[in-house]
């Protein structure tokens, strides 16, 4: 066993439990010496690595998948078949690149859907202007 590493790991797991999507104090671009090693490690960790964090229990609810969720899944699989991404890049984008606030704050397939849109912009299949205009066009159908 690496005692020093284990101590750091357990300390880290205790610390990241304090990071929740909430406004506690103002932290606007702190000076470098205002960021502790613990904070840096917590801020930059992959947000999906939650094993061992302290948390309260949550209610288990059985929920059937909705049509938009199935459509989102199929869209993401088709993007893989077309070579736009592989499964690991998809997971990286929807579970880690989104950051902790979105990871914990958005529904599961909401993250899939946002990520499918972003990969198309990132790899220049559509421009962000085109995407914004399309979202606006579709939104107006429901006004």
């Amino acid at each position: 066993m690496s005692e020093a590493t284990r101590k750091r790991v357990l300390n880290h797991l205790d610390y990241v439990g304090l990071l929740q999507p909430a406004i506690h104090t103002e932290t606007h671009a702190p000076s470098p010496d205002e960021v502790t090693n613990d904070q840096y490690r917590a801020y930059t960790r992959p947000s999906h690595d939650i094993g061992g964090e302290r948390d309260v229990s949550i209610q288990w609810e059985e929920k059937e998948e909705e049509i938009w969720e199935h459509n989102t899944f199929v869209t993401c699989e088709v993007l893989a078949w077309r070579g736009v991404w592989n499964a690991e890049e998809r997971r990286r984008r929807q579970n880690v690149d989104v950051g902790q606030t979105q990871y914990l704050g958005l529904p599961y397939y909401g993250r899939w859907l946002l990520t499918a849109a972003l990969i198309l912009v990132d790899k220049q299949f559509v421009t962000l202007t085109e995407l914004h205009e399309k979202i606006d066009e579709v939104s107006k159908r429901y006004e």
Binding site: M1, S2, T5, R8, P46, G83, N86, Q124
Partner: protein, 122 residues
Amino acid sequence: MSKPHYDLEHHVKKATGIGDPQCFKGEAGDPRFKVGDKVKIRDLPDVFYTRTQAYTRGCEATVVRLVYETPPAEDEAWDNTENVEWMYSLLFKQKDLWPEYADAFSQDTLETEIPEHWLEPA
């Protein structure tokens, strides 16, 4: 700035009709560890991405199975598939992972898969 060119077919060509990770079989070379070996999880950086759980760092485990060959998640997440590694299924004692784990359940274990570059001999 010019637009990058993405090869949209290389993974499809490699995996179609074979499957992934089966399409990487034979590319990892000789495994560094064998079933029964004691290993320790390295304390590597995890900035940007990893799937090696933070709670395993520095902990010892036993190799129970060589599962398959694949690029490690850190590489495949950016579609870098040149460096293929063995994935090991590792058995941890729960008491080693969690200091507060009850003595009454001291025989409990946890099994998880971790790529070779995260491991060193215990």
